[in-house]
Subunit: 475 residues, 2 copies
């Protein structure tokens, strides 16, 4: 239990260090970042020193508490400088949660004139949140069988447990690849004409599939085919399983059902929507492909950059983007959403189920990556879908209760839960902004992002009385 406090203390110290970096780089915001750094660092340091780093006696139970609290503390730390800058408490909390969960929905407008220190801070939150999500999943949560967290385990065991027995080693490999991808992406952005600052911050929010931009026009600010194609590619890179990179780079084995499924479904969606755009709006092939590929990949990878308001492409596009929002990237990546592997496993379970009924004499296994899926992994996948649907329904009802119209309420609920960013409609669509929503709606959405990033079950467990009884008796 004391270990939970210890880690939270370290997280605060880490965020204090990041604030310090911003304070040093940008004189115009150095006072607020400096003060926030001192406050956070002092509190975090005290907490860490007052508690114990001993991990003995840690049980799955504690991991729930650890994960939930670390992400909440990170959001609060992230909110501090934003609150000191200009935002209301609810807005700062919303913006920081949106950053750390790599959702990328923003309540800030006038980004082009916002101090660059704030822009860097938002990018930092996403960069940390993105890799934090992978590392949380891979290194910290293999004991969990819940929700889909165990899917990380299957991803990482895929890579050959012998070589990567050490979770720390695996986490460090992930960090290296993540960092390398950000650097390459940033260099290409620079080559393509971005300023060094834009290149760095946008590379951070691209690979983290976060989608914060330094400009109100989002990535549409950069009117360059080269930059847009680069971004398209690197958003995709951020949403592929990092264990897949590690295995591929070390062993040359690049075959992955999940990656194949993602690429095939992306190709189909991009093809269909490009055709739609060419027919209904008379776009040329290459323009249509560029527009569609960027925006589809942005939504499926849950990045949420936009180069254009695709909700103006007609009702088919609107519904298609709504459906794509639910798809999500790959497990073990920075992306949110339901994830390709869950859809794969669910559809195979379904097919097996139907086949079983008309051909009961045939033995049917549900397989994934050539191995049978364990029953508890299967029920984890299912639990996730039911939680997803139910949470979506409750959130949409609450949002509409607080006065949002139907498109805004439903797409807002979905975009928060899947950590995508933009919704549908005039208010929160790709051309809009979350600023004008009322405070209760913002709080619902903030909690939705938190639930989505922690894949729900981790948070819901904290609401079970039995959880706390178990925790009390645990030591």
């Amino acid at each position: 239990m004391s270990f939970v406090f210890f880690i939270n203390g370290l997280v605060m110290v880490f965020f204090a260090a990041l604030m310090g970096v911003v304070a040093l780089l940008f004189p115009d915001t150095s006072k607020m970042f400096g003060e926030a750094a001192l406050l956070t660092g002092f509190m975090g340091g005290t907490l860490a020193m007052a508690s114990s780093p001993r991990t003995e006696g840690l049980r799955p139970l504690h991991t729930f508490l650890l994960t939930s609290s670390v992400w909440m503390v990170a959001a609060l730390c992230g909110a501090l400088p934003l609150y000191a800058y200009d935002l209301s408490l609810a807005d700062a909390f919303f913006e920081a949660m949106s950053g750390i969960t790599t959702t990328g929905s923003t309540v800030m407008s006038g980004l082009d004139e916002t101090p660059r220190g704030i822009i860097l801070w938002r990018a930092m939150l996403q960069a940390v949140g993105g890799v934090g999500f992978i590392v949380t999943g891979i290194a910290l949560l293999p004991i969990l069988k819940v929700g889909g967290m165990q899917l990380f385990r299957s991803e990482s065991s895929e890579t050959g447990e012998r070589e990567l027995r050490n979770a720390t080693m695996f986490a460090s490999a992930t960090l290296q690849i993540y960092f390398a991808l950000i650097v390459i992406c940033g260099l290409l952005y620079f080559v393509g004409g971005m300023s060094p600052f834009d290149a760095v911050t946008h590379a951070m929010t691209t690979l983290s599939t976060g989608g914060y931009s330094g400009y109100d026009a989002s990535f549409g600010h950069f009117d360059s085919a080269f930059l847009q194609w680069t971004c398209t590619l690197f958003m995709l890179f951020g949403a592929l399983p990092f264990s897949w990179y590690i295995r591929g780079l070390r062993h040359g084995r690049w075959k992955s059902e999940q990656v194949t499924a993602m690429l095939v479904s992306l190709a189909v969606s991009i093809g269909a929507l490009s055709l739609w755009l060419m027919i209904t709006r008379g776009e040329g092939l290459f323009d249509a492909l560029r527009l569609v590929a960027f925006n589809v990949i942005s939504v499926v990878t849950t990045t949420g950059y936009a180069t254009t308001d695709y909700t103006l492409w007609g009702p088919f596009a609107v519904v298609a983007f709504f459906v794509l929002t639910a798809a999500g990237g790959a497990t073990g990546s920075t992306a949110g959403g339901a994830k390709a592997m869950r859809w794969l496993v669910a559809f195979r379970a379904l097919k097996a189920q139907i086949r079983q009924s008309y051909a009961p004499h045939r033995v049917t296994f549900v397989k994934y990556e050539d191995r049978p899926v364990a029953p508890d992994a299967l029920s984890g996948v299912i639990a996730f879908f039911v939680l997803y649907a139910a949470t979506f329904g409750v959130m949409a009802s609450l949002l509409s209760f607080f006065g949002l119209d139907m498109s805004t309420a439903t797409s807002g609920a979905l975009t928060a839960l899947a950590n995508v960013g933009p919704g549908v409609g005039d208010i929160i669509g790709p051309a809009g902004n979350f600023a004008t929503l009322n405070t209760p709606s913002k709080l619902v959405l903030t909690f939705g992002m938190y639930l989505g990033r922690l894949e729900m079950a981790t948070v819901y467990a904290l609401f079970a009385p039995l959880f706390w009884r178990e925790l009390m008796t645990a030591r």
Copy 2:
């Protein structure tokens, strides 16, 4: 295989007899109904006599084929008089499928002036479809473990297999109760001031949770609190498990988790929406309760009558009705939708799954009605939810591709799949009509109602090549 043709032949003869009844009762439409009866009767009779009633060698496989074909043949038979009357081929097929599946969406306007023979025919389709759904599930499909059809089995086994070993006996008890409820409801309608014709046709479409009315204003045509409360009650009766009535009447055991869950969630929804209506529109308590109870129960039981355009109650009401559409009635009733028992089982599985992760030393069973749920029943429930979500997504995308706006496309897909009837928005909302939709959209919706009524898996199996290979080798 020959048995499948035999039953389809009988179904056609049965529909011919119904057409004959209409022809005898209403002189103004007797020619078209008479001709349709002769044609259908001749074809059905020939088919039945040319095939064999022998049931030996029947396998689960054949039951799929039987169910799918019977419902398709019934819809085609139902469409014949409507086509002969006035409707286009697509419209007649839509209207008949909507009738036989007890969906109740209509493409016909000017109902008040429509010949009463046609109005009776629509009511007959729903009355037959409603009880047909229960009997299909209980008597014909206990061998199926797919989708949720096996849920009927658990409902019927609940009633004590010893007494009701005979499926025929069970089906006849169901028919008796169904008929008795229609008679009581019709009498109350008559007492409340309806004409005998209105009382009969509306009792038929109330208990079948079908929702066809003889008037453009739907049940709102009858401006009587007594009639509306009667209807509210009997819609609910139609959506409760018929096995529950049988068990209750025979053994006095009325305890049922599913019924309790339905009543509790109805009470909560009605309470919340009444409050909303009282606050936002200043309605009095009793008026609010009557309005809300009628329309909520109409949607949850998937009847789809409307007394008012509840989509004008503001965004919270719209989203609430959207969510309620997905809820559905009880298994083993005439209602469509996901069904209360599936939600119950899914949420318990979920809770068990989460609990398992933080308290792995505790053994957790998923129970329903005090008995553990078998793993294959559990995966049937799950398969259903995934199919439901995926089919909904594909249908909504197709509808929007054919030019419907987002609200119409999404609510249209859901209302067809759940066999509810009205959607949301100006076009297909409770005050609207499906007439103005284009033909491709109507076909998508027609197929959606068919899928929804057969709980999807039965139809999807027919698309598997293995199904046909198995069928070929079966004899």
